[in-house]
């Protein structure tokens, strides 16, 4: 089954390169950011104008590691240019919900300083905080605007969203449909409707899940998918597949530690393999890309680059 693995990966990536928005999500610690960075470089090198984004407020940016993976200064709402070549380019941003809201208000109600009034007035500011999903909606809306509006600058070919972890991603991706449940009036509603169509259209949007090759992690991926049923078939990247060692006969005089470490690795690879097989059976063969386990050896090559090279 692994014979064609490389070709399958290439076909999958080719297909992804035709999309406009890739949303990467999965539970914490499964490699969302590293995969987002690897994919961003991959498509930029193939000649795409790629914009890699994460959502977050300024005040908790010390938890963000995306810029370290990009080997750049901390990211801001405004674009940081990471790489620009003849055709392809890679830009990155940390999109701030409040600034996105201000931009949106500015677009819809031009003139005057109404946006800042709305955000500074204590009554409306607190109201905006509690309208469910509104801030998520304007962040997503910003991406949608840059992908669909001719006047938008920058105008990327592809946006990769290094998305939030499981539950928060559900909140984010449901923001447009939740808003439509609240009201059927006003510009936010009509934009939310269009965004929802954009997000549900498999030609535009793909959700990429990340998981570890462990039973619990895969089970959670399945639960997560259930909550996002209305989106097209997601693609699953299984990260950190432990290498399988050839079966060998161990001579009697081998030190115990060496034998034990061999058995540990064998069992771990075996356990992972059966967890993935079970998962495939239960999900009727979801498309999967397996990413190898990269040991933290002394070569100093960044992890995202190693993953990128495994794609090439």
């Amino acid at each position: 089954m692994r014979v064609n693995a490389e070709k399958i990966t290439k076909d999958i990536l080719d297909e992804l390169s035709r999309k406009k928005l890739l949303v990467v999500t999965g539970k914490g610690g499964t490699g969302k950011s590293v995969l987002s960075v690897a994919l961003a470089f991959y498509f930029a090198k193939k000649g795409k104008k790629v914009w890699l984004v994460e959502f977050g407020r300024k005040h908790d940016s010390n938890f963000s590691r995306l810029h370290e993976l990009l080997d750049s200064a901390p990211l801001h709402h405004k674009i940081t240019k990471i790489m620009e070549e003849k055709n392809g380019a890679l830009w990155a941003s940390r999109i701030d919900p409040t600034e996105s809201l201000a931009e949106y208000v500015g677009l819809k109600i031009p003139g005057g300083n109404l946006a800042s009034l709305l955000l500074k007035n204590r009554v409306t500011a607190s109201f905006l905080e509690i309208v469910p999903g509104l801030l998520e909606l304007v962040c997503l809306g910003k991406l949608w605007f840059h992908l669909t509006n001719k006047k938008a600058n920058p105008a990327p070919d592809l946006i990769i969203l290094d998305g939030p972890a499981s539950g928060h991603a559900v909140t984010l991706l449901h923001a447009p449909s939740n808003f439509s449940r609240l009201t059927k009036q006003g510009p936010i509603y009509s934009d939310a409707e269009k965004m929802q169509k954009f997000l549900h259209n498999p030609e535009n949007t793909s959700i990429l899940f990340t998981s570890l090759p462990e039973e619990m992690s895969l089970e959670e991926t399945r639960e997560h998918r259930e909550l996002l049923k209305e989106f097209s078939q997601p693609l699953l990247f299984i990260n950190k597949n432990f290498p399988r060692i050839k079966n060998i006969k161990i001579p009697a005089n081998t030190p115990e530690i060496l034998t034990d470490s061999y058995h540990y690795s064998q069992q771990r690879a075996e356990r992972e393999n059966s967890a993935i097989k079970n998962f495939q059976k239960e999900t009727h063969n979801w498309p999967i890309v397996n990413i190898p386990f990269f040991f933290p050896d002394s070569d100093k090559i960044p992890l995202a680059k190693k993953i990128l090279e495994s794609f090439l």
Partner: protein
């Protein structure tokens, strides 16, 4: 009994980045405390079913489910204390709160509101507030000696501590009273006298249409009736979390990634006034590859290359672990205790696995 200080508090909060085994560790610790004689309530804020899975159950409800019979049967062992587990459900918790405060009469206007339906969804931002409410309920039930709280990953772990302030800000009378107007009138905004608020609300209405604001104004007098109780309960739990009756265990893994989150977390926790009980390095591989690769080559020069290569790979992981453990210990200084737990032998998805893990504490 090395770490019995972990279950001497009334509330034990497990924090840490994703993928380090926080939920499983919470369950193992709760089981251990129950075996030691505590009446334990184990609660997860994470809407995923992971806690249920690690206990070998299909699902958990939002009310404490006593697991003694199930555990005793599985382990063939008596539990001195008790273990009850639950998974937070926003909607149930909010409904229960409203009903407790004022019965059906109070609850109905809320359940009829569209806005309320969405706000109380599990995946709306209200989850944190309701986690606090649930903690209040559990703490004041007097059913438990110890509550073990499994939080969502680090980036959001301490967000829920801001919940009481945020909600109090919104419910501040000076602001909230703007919304206490007659909803039967279609001209809500006209009734508002302050000019700034008037203009700001008109801008808002232009964006969202009048529906959302109207829904809110309909609900506002009902919110007004219950808000003080809600805020008060939030505050009481906040006080408990910051008191010496509560403590946090930071769970990390031997990787660079998990350790990197420790520093901002500890800073944040100290600023918030949270007692940190210990730092835990989970799933340590150290015992698997205790000597260096060079030493191993010397000891077994003729071993098969596959064996040696595998050893070298594991050694890379152990070296990363040693580096990170040192960094964590340095970070902890003399203030906090650091300890590690060896790599689990299998995926833990039942009571037997948890029991084995619980022996580490």
């Amino acid at each position: 009994m090395k770490h019995s200080m972990l279950w001497q508090k009334k509330l034990l909060i497990l924090c840490g980045t994703g993928g380090v085994g926080k939920t499983t560790t919470s369950a193992a610790l709760a089981l251990r405390a129950a075996l030691e004689g505590k009446r334990v309530g184990l609660i997860t804020i994470d809407p995923a079913k992971r806690l249920a899975n690690s206990l070998g159950l299909k699902k958990l409800s939002s009310e404490p489910q006593n697991l003694n019979h199930y555990i005793e049967k599985t382990l063939n062992k008596k539990i001195k204390g008790s273990l009850s587990a639950l998974m937070l459900d926003s909607k149930d918790t909010l409904h229960k709160f409203l009903f407790t405060i004022g019965g059906k009469e109070t609850l109905v206007p809320f359940t009829n509101s569209n806005l309320f339906q969405i706000i109380s969804d599990n995946f709306s931002g209200s989850h944190d507030y309701l986690a606090m409410e649930k903690l209040y309920e559990l703490h004041h039930s007097n059913d438990f000696d110890l509550i073990v709280l499994d939080t969502p990953p680090a980036r959001h772990t301490l967000d829920f501590l801001d919940a009481p302030d945020k909600i109090a800000r919104f419910f501040d009378d000076r602001i909230f009273s703007w919304f206490l107007t007659d909803a039967r009138s279609n001209k809500i905004i006209e009734k508002i006298r302050a000019k700034g608020a008037k203009t700001a609300l008109s801008v808002l209405e232009k964006l969202t249409g009048s529906g959302v604001l109207h829904d809110f104004v309909l609900l506002a007098p009902h919110i007004y009736k219950v808000k003080n109780s809600f805020v008060e309960r939030q505050r009481k739990i906040q006080t408990l979390i910051r008191s010496d009756k509560a403590g946090a265990l930071f769970v990390s893994s031997p990787t660079d990634l998990a350790r990197g989150e420790a520093e901002p977390f500890l800073k944040d926790a100290e600023k918030q006034g949270i007692t940190i009980l210990a730092l835990l390095v989970n799933r340590s591989l150290r015992k698997l590859a205790p000597i260096t690769y060079a030493q191993m080559r010397k000891q077994a020069p003729d071993a098969a290359p596959e064996l040696l290569e595998n050893y070298q790979n594991l050694r890379f992981l152990v070296e990363e672990e040693e580096k990170n453990t040192k960094l964590l210990e340095k970070l902890a200084g003399t203030k906090y205790q650091t300890f590690s737990i060896a790599e689990w032998k299998e995926d833990i998805h039942d009571i037997h696995g948890l029991y084995a893990l619980a022996q580490n504490f």
